[in-house]
C-alpha cells in the first residue's frame, strides 16, 4: 500500500487548490457546447418529423445525441489531459522534491501508481459529472443504456491511456511546459496515425488502424465492445506506465 500516501497527497493537491475545479468547470463547459446543440437539434427534428411524417428520418436519441457526444468528448480530452498530467512529476523534479521522493521507502512503481490513480480518480469524477447529459436525455425519452455504458467505458479507457502517456512524458522532463506540449504532441501523433490508414492497403492498413488511438473510440461510442479495442487501450496504458517506470529508474543512474 505504498502508493496510498502519494495518492492522498495528490488528491489533496487537486481538491485543495483550484486545479480540479478549474479543469472540471472548463471540461463541462466545453462538452456542453457539443451536447446542447445536438440535443436541441434532435428535439427540433422530432417536432418536424411529427408534423411531416414523410421527413421522419432516423430518430434515435442514442445514435443522434450520445454517440457524437461521446466521440467529441474524447476529442476534448486530447486537449485537457496534457494539462492535468504535465505537472505530475515534472513539478516534483523542478522543485527538487524528486531526490527526496526517491529516497523515501517507496518503490518507483508505488510513486507512479499513486500519481496515476489520483489523476484517474479526478478524471473519473469529472466524467461522472458529464453523466448529466445522458440522464437529461433519458428524462425525456428512452435511452439505450447499454450503448451509453460502452461509450463511458471507452471514455474511461481512452482517458486512462491519455493520462498514462502524460505521466510518462512528465517523468522525462522537469519543465511543465515541455511535459504538456510533449504529451499533446505524442497523443496527437497517435491520433493522426489513424488518418494515414486512408492511404494504406492490406496488412499495413490493419496495423495503422490498430495503432491509431481514436479509431478505437468509434465502436465504443456506437455501443459495440470489441476485445481488440480494449486490448489496445490497456496495452497503451501498460506500456506508457512501464516507460514511466523506466524513466524514473534511469534518474538513479543517469548522472
Amino acid at each position: 500500500m505504498g502508493w496510498l500516501p502519494v495518492f492522498k497527497k495528490e488528491m489533496r493537491l487537486y481538491f485543495g487548490s483550484p486545479v480540479a475545479y478549474a479543469v472540471a468547470t472548463f471540461f463541462l463547459f466545453v462538452t456542453a457546447f457539443f451536447f446542447v446543440p445536438a440535443f436541441r437539434g434532435f428535439a427540433e427534428l422530432s417536432m418536424r418529423a411529427a408534423m411531416q411524417p414523410q421527413f421522419g428520418g432516423n430518430l434515435n436519441a442514442t445514435e443522434s445525441i450520445l454517440r457524437p457526444l461521446i466521440y467529441n468528448m474524447a476529442v476534448v480530452l486530447l486537449f485537457f489531459i496534457p494539462m492535468v498530467t504535465m505537472r505530475l512529476i515534472a513539478e516534483e523534479r523542478r522543485a527538487g522534491n524528486m531526490e527526496l521522493l526517491l529516497t523515501y521507502p517507496l518503490r518507483d512503481g508505488e510513486i507512479l501508481l499513486g500519481k496515476f490513480l489520483a489523476a484517474l480518480v479526478l478524471y473519473m469524477l469529472i466524467l461522472a459529472l458529464t453523466l448529466f447529459y445522458p440522464v437529461t436525455v433519458a428524462w425525456f425519452t428512452r435511452l439505450e443504456w447499454g450503448a451509453v455504458a460502452t461509450g463511458y467505458l471507452g471514455l474511461l479507457l481512452i482517458g486512462a491511456a491519455f493520462l498514462s502517456v502524460g505521466l510518462f512524458v512528465s517523468s522525462t522532463t522537469e519543465n511543465q511546459i515541455v511535459a504538456g506540449f510533449g504529451t499533446f504532441g505524442a497523443l496527437l501523433g497517435l491520433w493522426l496515425l489513424g488518418w494515414f490508414s486512408d492511404t494504406t492497403q492490406g496488412t499495413l492498413r490493419t496495423v495503422v488502424q490498430q495503432a491509431g488511438i481514436i479509431e478505437h473510440m468509434d465502436s465504443f461510442a456506437k455501443g459495440v465492445l470489441e476485445t481488440k479495442d480494449i486490448v489496445y487501450y490497456l496495452s497503451v496504458i501498460g506500456f506508457a506506465l512501464f516507460l514511466a517506470l523506466r524513466s524514473l529508474d534511469s534518474q538513479r543512474w543517469r548522472g
Binding site: Y21, L28, V36, A61, F132, F140, E144
Partner: protein, 536 residues
C-alpha cells in the same frame, strides 16, 4: 576532422530521414534512395572512427550499461504489446450492446459468410472524404471478420485508381465491386441486404441461363445496329447470365435450365403449341419477360389476358415537355412514375424512355391465382392513341375513345404455382439435366413471374443506354431470375425515440448544461480556495 566529429551523427540521421521521406513520397526514385542510404552508412562508420576514443570510454561507463539494459527491456515490452495487439486484431470478440443489435450482421449474412468456399475480394470505391466511407468500411470489416478469412476487402479511391475503376465498370463514388474468380458483381450502395445478395450472386456456381425466343422476327442479340440487342446481350453476359436461343417452333418445350425467357418484340404471332409450351413453363414456376410492340403479334394480347394483362391497341403519345429535354419526340414517353416494386426500388427515381410503346393495362376481371401489378406509367399529359391512320399521318390528338393519361406501360404478374405442377416441373428439370448451376439450387419452386412492357425499343441498342433504361432492363431480368435466392435482411434502423420538449424545457436544458453545472463546480472551487486562504 572536427567537423565530422561534431556533425557526423546529425548528418547520418538526416540522410536516413531523407531516404525514408523519399520512400514515402517519391517511391520511384529508388537509386537516389539507395545512394542516400549508402552515404548514411559511410558517414556513420566515418563518424564512429573519428569519435573512436570517446566512444570507447562511453561504452565502458556504468550508465551506458544500464541504459542498454533499459533499452532492451523497453524493446521487449514493446514486443509484448505488439504481439498482444496482433493477436487481438486476429481474434477479436465482439458484443453489440445496442437494443436491436443494429451494428451486427444478421444471421443470414453470417451463415452465408461462413459457408463461403472460394475467396471473395471486395473493392470499395470511395473518395477519401466521402461520408459513407466509414459506414461502408465498418460493414466490410464485419463481413471480413465473420468470413474466417475468405472475404477480404480494400478501400480504393476512384480518382487515384481510375484505370482499375474503369476496368471494373465503376461509374459512381461509393460503388463496391465483389470479385470471386472470374465473376464480379457491383453494389451501388453499401448496405447489408445489397451486399449479401451480391455475395450470393458472385459465389453462386454456374450461370443463370436466359433464353431468347426466336422465329417471329424478334430483336436479334447478334445485331449490333441500332435496332439490334447486342448491347443488352453484353450487359447480361457481364452480369453472369448465359444467353441461349429458344426455338419453340422446333422443340415445343422450354428447357429445364431456363431462368428467364425473354420474348423481345415478336412481329408475327406465336403458334398455339408455342403458347402451350410457355403455359407449361409458367405452370412450373417459369419466368417470362414479354416486350410487346404496338400493332404487332396481336395474338400475344389475347394470350396475356389469361394472366390478367390487357395490351392496349394503341401507341402512347406524350405531350409532357420533359421528353424535349432529352431530345426525343412525343412518341417517346419519358417515364418517371413508378409503382413500388423490387424492380423499380433500385432505380432511385431515374427516368426511363419507352419509345413507341403500347399501353399495358390490368384486366378488369380478376383471374384466380394471378396477381398483376402496374410497374410504370406515363405522365398525365399523355394518352394512348388508337387511330392508326392518324398516327401514320403524324396528326394525333386525344379522342374520347383513347386511353387518357397517365397510361400504364409496364406491368408485373405473379402466378401461384399448383403444387402438383411444380413437382412435375422438378421432374422435368431432372430429365433435362443440362443446367448444372441453375438446377438443384431452387428446390422450392417459387411463384411464376411475368413482366410485360409495351415496347421492345427500350432494350434496343439505340435506347438501352438512354437514361435509366439499362438499369430497368437489368432489374427486370435479375428480379425474374434471382428471386429464388434473394436474401431479405431485415432493416435494422435504430428504434425511433423522438424527444418532444417545450420551449421552456429546451431553455432549461441549455442553461443547466452551459451555465448551472459548470458554474456549480466553479463555485465549489472558489469556496475551497477562499476557505483555505482564511485558514492560513
Amino acid at each position: 576532422m572536427s567537423l565530422l566529429k561534431r556533425w557526423g551523427m546529425s548528418a547520418t540521421v538526416g540522410f536516413l530521414l531523407a531516404a525514408a521521406a523519399l520512400a514515402l513520397f517519391v517511391p520511384w526514385l529508388i537509386r537516389l534512395r539507395w545512394a542516400l542510404m549508402i552515404a548514411a552508412g559511410v558517414l556513420f562508420i566515418a563518424t564512429g572512427a573519428a569519435n573512436w576514443r570517446e566512444g570507447a570510454s562511453f561504452l565502458g561507463r556504468r550508465g551506458t550499461r544500464y541504459g542498454a539494459s533499459a533499452a532492451l527491456l523497453v524493446v521487449l515490452a514493446l514486443g509484448i504489446v505488439v504481439m498482444a495487439n496482433a493477436v487481438s486484431v486476429r481474434y477479436s470478440a465482439r458484443w453489440d450492446l445496442t437494443e436491436n443489435k443494429r451494428h451486427s450482421l444478421s444471421s443470414q449474412t453470417v451463415k452465408i459468410l461462413q459457408g463461403l468456399k472460394a475467396p471473395v475480394e471486395v473493392i470499395a470505391f470511395f473518395r477519401s472524404d466521402q461520408p459513407g466511407k466509414r459506414v461502408a468500411e465498418d460493414l466490410l470489416k464485419q463481413y471480413a471478420g465473420a468470413s474466417k478469412g475468405k472475404l477480404t476487402y480494400r478501400m480504393d479511391d476512384p480518382d487515384r485508381a481510375p484505370g482499375l475503376a474503369k476496368r471494373l465498370g465503376v461509374e459512381s463514388y461509393g460503388t463496391l465491386v465483389l470479385q470471386s474468380g472470374e465473376k464480379s458483381e457491383k453494389v451501388l450502395e453499401a448496405d447489408e441486404e445489397r451486399l449479401t445478395n451480391a455475395l450470393v450472386k458472385v459465389t453462386r456456381s454456374g450461370k443463370r441461363v436466359v433464353y431468347m425466343l426466336k422465329g417471329h422476327g424478334e430483336r436479334e442479340t447478334g445485331n449490333t445496329e441500332r435496332p439490334g440487342m447486342s448491347r443488352a446481350k453484353d450487359e447480361l453476359e457481364k452480369a453472369n447470365y448465359e444467353l441461349k436461343d429458344l426455338v419453340l417452333a422446333r422443340d415445343p418445350k422450354v428447357p429445364a435450365d431456363a431462368s428467364v425467357v425473354i420474348i423481345a418484340g415478336p412481329r408475327t404471332d406465336l403458334f398455339p403449341q408455342e403458347l402451350e409450351a410457355l403455359d407449361a413453363y409458367l405452370s412450373r414456376g417459369g419466368k417470362i419477360f414479354f416486350m410487346a410492340d404496338p400493332f404487332q403479334a396481336e395474338g400475344l394480347a389475347k394470350y396475356l389476358t389469361k394472366y390478367g394483362i390487357t395490351l392496349g391497341n394503341d401507341v402512347v403519345i406524350e405531350l409532357s415537355p420533359i421528353g424535349r429535354l432529352f431530345g426525343v419526340g412525343p412518341e417517346v414517353p419519358v417515364i418517371n412514375q413508378y409503382e413500388p416494386h423490387p424492380i423499380t426500388k433500385d432505380l432511385g427515381g431515374v427516368m426511363t424512355l419507352f419509345p413507341i410503346t403500347r399501353s399495358v393495362q390490368l384486366s378488369k376481371a380478376q383471374v384466380r391465382g394471378v396477381a398483376p401489378q402496374v410497374l410504370a406509367r406515363s405522365s398525365p399529359q399523355s394518352w394512348g392513341e388508337t387511330d392508326r391512320v392518324a398516327l401514320q399521318r403524324g396528326e394525333v390528338k386525344p379522342d374520347p375513345n383513347d386511353t387518357p393519361g397517365p397510361v400504364p406501360v409496364a406491368a408485373v404478374v405473379t402466378l401461384d404455382v399448383l403444387p402438383g405442377a411444380a413437382a412435375k416441373g422438378e421432374g422435368a428439370k431432372d430429365e433435362g439435366g443440362k443446367g448444372e448451376g441453375a438446377k438443384g439450387e431452387d428446390k422450392t419452386p417459387s411463384k411464376a413471374r411475368i413482366v410485360v412492357v409495351g415496347t421492345s425499343n427500350l432494350a434496343s441498342n439505340q435506347f438501352l443506354g438512354a437514361q435509366g433504361n439499362r438499369d430497368f432492363f437489368m432489374n427486370v431480368v435479375s428480379w425474374l431470375a434471382d428471386e429464388a435466392d434473394q436474401v431479405a435482411v431485415r432493416p435494422r434502423d435504430a428504434r425511433q425515440n423522438p424527444i418532444f420538449i417545450s420551449e421552456a424545457q429546451s431553455q432549461a436544458v441549455l442553461w443547466l448544461s452551459l451555465l448551472v453545472l459548470p458554474g456549480a463546480v466553479m463555485v465549489c472551487g472558489i469556496f475551497v480556495v477562499v476557505h483555505r486562504r482564511r485558514q492560513k
